[in-house]
Symmetry: C2
Subunit: 212 residues, 2 copies
DNA sequence: TTGGTTTCGGAACACCATGTCCGTTACCGA
DNA sequence: TCGGTAACGGACATGGTGTTCCGAAACCAA
């Protein structure tokens, strides 16, 4: 079920299946999609399909895995710095994602897996960043994993809403909204002396509540 | 498929099916559960099942609907006051929920529907409270629906984590955590003069960031 | 208790989607 | 050009679904 250096025909088939699946998932709920639907839409034979995928779920997973890899790489790259979460990059990634696949997928119910996987990946990265770069500043009875969970969830909620609403605002504005809504609570957990540093230059402005 | 004043036998059947389903959903992913599994577990006949439910999904929906009604009533009741969200009551509701059904359901993957429905209900309530009681204080470029979405999402993220982790803290502590993490960003959107009023007495304390 | 009504249960059934196997055809890479 | 590999269509076994029929059992009201 893997492709090392694939025959053109194999690539073609996989491409057709992915495209067909993306279309279908945008039209109807995942669990209503039949293998036959994929076959018809992709214009391939039954045998061919099963030569490439175990089953319907395998198609979903392969697409998600592929997309998730890009995102995870982006997240981990940011985790090496002091930033807790590469929010702007993620908003922009979704925004500029040429292939409709990502949007269609995110909007459909099939993406529950994707969102959950993203939540986990984000959470890990945030926790790591928090314990690596902010340990000495962090003094709060709230456990770090809870903070991470909250931040990841708050971000993904906004991202999800934004994508579902067909991205009515530019990524930069979403980034600002996220900073204003979700981060003050986290900053408050870090000792005062360091609040001006790192993460974002908007911090002081936000906490003074004057520019709204 | 409804029961007005049901025969004892009908009640028994529905009860058995609900219980069996709750058990199964705690043991395996929803889409792996067969009707036959429910039949075996509940100890009823195939014919009987289809006399009460359209299909497997109908069982899930009926349980969710039932639970959702309780929660929605609680949410709407709080929405009449100035509070944005009855967080403490919801944490406590989950905590004291005697029947394992709620916990098992929330922890399983089948509950995606429930979470989504909760998100919508919460969002509506928050938006309503915000436009009703806070209009004159609210002056921000961030649209009210976005704020509502964020608050509902942030709360549900914490609730979800808490339930999944088998509720390691008392509801009161979760309430405090939620207030500290998620609300500062929202309060900052309301004009300064009113920040001491309503919602929660902890507000000033939080914003001064001294008690952490 | 009785008698009419409703539900239950079991077996058999048609239906449909799944996943596999075959021989043949078309395409690819070298 | 030629050997290998993938696509194809059709047929097939499998397994879960939802329905039907009918006798037995449980219910409820009188």
């Amino acid at each position: 079920m893997k492709q090392e250096k694939a025959d053109r025909r194999s690539q073609r088939t996989r491409r057709l299946v992915s495209a067909a699946f993306a279309e279908l998932v945008a039209e109807m709920p995942y669990d209503k999609i039949l293998v036959q639907d994929i076959l018809d839409r992709a214009g391939i034979g039954r045998t061919t399909f099963y030569a490439h995928y175990f089953d319907k779920e395998d198609v979903l997973n392969s697409i998600i895995e592929q997309e998730l890899e890009l995102l995870t790489r982006q997240i981990d790259r940011a985790a090496t710095g002091q930033r807790l979460i590469p929010s702007l990059e993620l908003f922009e990634h979704a925004y500029h994602s040429q292939n409709q696949q990502l949007r269609a997928l995110m909007q459909s119910r099939a993406s529950d897996f994707l969102w959950e996987a993203l939540q986990v990946a984000l959470c890990r990265a945030i926790e790591s960043a928090l314990t690596t770069h902010w340990t000495e500043k962090y003094s709060s009875p709230i456990p770090v994993p809870v903070v991470s969970e909250y931040l990841a969830g708050a971000f993904l909620t906004l991202l999800k809403w934004w994508v579902t609403a067909d991205m009515p605002y530019p990524p930069e504005q979403m980034e600002r909204i996220f900073q204003q809504l979700a981060l003050p609570g986290v900053w408050a957990l870090l000792t005062e002396s360091e609040q001006k540093a790192g993460i974002d230059a908007d911090v002081p402005t936000l906490l003074s509540r004057t520019h709204l």
